[in-house]
Amino acid sequence: MDTSDYAIDVRGVTKKFGTRTVVNDIAMQVRPGEIYGFLGPNGSGKTTFLRMLCGLLTPDGGEGKCLGLDFRSESAEIKKRVGYMTQKFSFYEDLNIEENLDFIARLYGMSQRKVAVQKSLERLGMVERRKQLAGTLSGGWKQRLALAACLIHEPKLLLLDEPTAGVDPKARRDFWDEIHKLAADGLTFLITTHYMDEASRCNRLAYIAYGNLLARGTVDEVIKAGGLTTWEISGENLAALAEKIRGLPGVEQVVAFGTTLHVSGRDAEKLNASVSPLISGAQRWTKIESGLEDVFISLMETAKDNFS
């Protein structure tokens, strides 16, 4: 694939706030029509990275292209082709749905404005609610409105910053179905999220912590690269067992999942040597696939030691 064909192709992107480096030398390549997941703990620099891509923040370093345009010098052009959905609902609560959409359509200088607004209302099933004030919408509807507004100028790339935070599971699932439909039509998505189920619905992922890119690839690739061995323990007295296991050599994570305990570590032998003697007869000890979440938490813990 030729580099100019990427929807996003940036290298060395860096942003400092004062002396603090919030985004440190990040490279990212996203193919057109791809749903790219962007994960990382709170304050890891995800939002800052998105804001730099759409020209809301000036990068301190880096180069590359966004939709074939130089992301540092041509941000005015990029803005016309990108839809950005902010983390916090940022439309006018004292305007109704239709007025909000109409306002955005005007800002983008849409020639067929009325048609675009009507189409957008229909696609998101908001035709009957068009006169409702945006401030009175529920979380799920606000999010749909925000997505509709981002799409109105028919962008090629959508940057969604935690679009499903605070949205119920059903609305979340509908939202992701919509995104997959749009991606099938050729739209590219860069989405930040904290939800593992959403991460696994992305084509590819990148994980950042403390401004540093720690892992990237498909879900399987990321899990494999994590090199984590995970054991599942079931049985009785798990809480007491968890206390005993925590901190033993080779044990990196002990997480309670309802009636089971997940114990993981990167050194499988050490982990085995530490834990197996403690397993009593009433408890069962099976090796399982490591999950994305286990890998991310492990990455984050390691990153904390290296960067902070």
């Binding site: 759409c54 809301l56 000036t58 803005k79 990108v82 950005y84 902010t86 609902f89 006018y92 983008y108």
Partner: protein, 376 residues
């Protein structure tokens, strides 16, 4: 539920912590009142002295010189101009260059010597009646005493009985000293200053506080488009206020409208835009809506007190007048009073138009420079 001291104290402590965090607000609550106390305490004077006065002395005699010396000594009058014709005097009063004009007629000393009690003309710009009252009282006192030194020997009989000459006072522009004539047109400027700055001050801070600014910045919209787009609707609101004040002035207060109302309509635009620009600029500096309101108020108070709206402009010390000259309201008051009460045209208002235009340019430049197109 009973009043619980601990719960109450929790609120008190929390309020103090928040107050301390918001440095600008805290500064405004403590610092600004101090500045204002000192500023206004020294600046405001309701018994103005040293008022600029022009003299047209057609009769240059020892008596006229003594009278002029007496004027100067009264400390109410500063002789800043020597006029050479009655027309010049009229111009000086219309253009607000002088507050008083004294005319000593040609045959003043001749009539005086004959004991005919000649008249001296004292003309006053009485648009603001409170600026001229004390000075006029001082001048009538002068008539009986100022020539005592000159009227000696054979002339001593002239000072014995009635005053040797009369001072005829003419109050121009507001002969009946009706303060509404001065206050009502002034209120137009005061209302515009307050509402225009407050409304636009909130306009951009609200976008930032509600998070809609981030969205706006991610669209292709330019700063100029945002600023001008936010100013225009309020220009219309401003004009509604102007119309209301003018209607009230005409039908409720019977304020004379000697000059051209369409001209006033045109010129008020400059003043409205200047105030809107102040509001926009404040909102690019303020972090939240509260701070924007405080800034608006911080600007409004000196505008009210140092512009000549509440207290005579010329009663203030020189430094306060200089400060007042920087405020658009000061100049607008002269424009609106000039047009309505003096019948001034464009030529007479020009000296007060360019300072407003200059103010607008400076403030707008700061505003556009401060408006950030990014979130950096």
């Amino acid at each position: 539920m009973r009043f619980n001291f601990q719960r109450f104290w929790a609120i008190v402590v929390k309020e103090f912590i928040q107050m301390r965090r918001d440095r600008l607000t805290f500064g405004m609550m403590i610092g600004v009142p101090m500045i204002q106390l000192i500023l206004f305490g020294y600046a405001i004077n309701s018994n103005p002295k040293h008022l600029p006065t022009a003299v047209y002395a057609a009769d240059n005699s020892v008596f006229s010189r003594s009278f002029i010396w007496g004027l100067r000594n009264s400390s109410y009058f500063d002789l800043v101009r020597e006029a050479h014709s009655p027309a010049e005097i009229n111009n000086l009063l219309a253009e607000n260059k002088v507050q008083f004009a004294v005319t000593i007629p040609v045959d003043f000393s001749r009539k005086l010597l004959r004991g005919e009690q000649p008249d001296l003309l004292l003309e006053a710009d009485a648009t603001d009646p409170s600026a001229v009252g004390f000075a006029q009282a001082a001048v009538s006192g002068l008539a009986t005493t100022v020539l005592n030194r000159d009227l000696t020997g054979p002339l001593a009989k002239l000072q014995a009985t009635a005053p040797p000459f009369n001072v005829v006072s003419h109050q121009h522009y507001n002969p009946e000293s009706i303060s509404q004539y001065n206050i009502v047109p002034g209120l137009m400027g005061v209302m515009l200053t307050m509402t225009m700055i407050m409304i636009t001050g909130l306009a951009i801070t609200r976008e930032r506080e509600r998070g809609t600014m981030e969205n706006l910045l991610s669209t292709p919209v330019h700063p100029g488009e945002v600023i001008v787009g936010k100013i225009v609707p309020y220009i219309m609101v401003g004009y509604v206020q102007v119309i209301l004040v003018l209607l009230a002035a005409k039908f409720l207060f019977n304020v004379p409208m000697l000059g051209s109302v369409p001209l006033l309509f045109l010129l008020v635009l400059l003043f409205i835009v200047a105030n809107l620009a102040v509001g926009i600029t404040f909102s690019t500096i303020a972090k939240n809506q509260l701070q924007a309101v405080q800034m608006a108020f911080f600007f409004f108070l000196p505008s009210l007190l140092l512009s000549g709206y509440m207290f005579p402009f010329r009663g203030m010390p020189g430094w306060a007048q200089d400060l007042g000259e920087c405020l658009p309201l000061t100049h607008f008051l002269r424009v609106v009073r000039g047009i309505l009460l003096k019948g001034n045209g464009l030529a007479e208002t020009l000296p007060d138009l360019w300072p407003i235009a200059l103010f607008l340019t400076v403030v707008l430049a700061i505003g556009i420079k401060r408006y950030r197109q990014t979130l950096d």
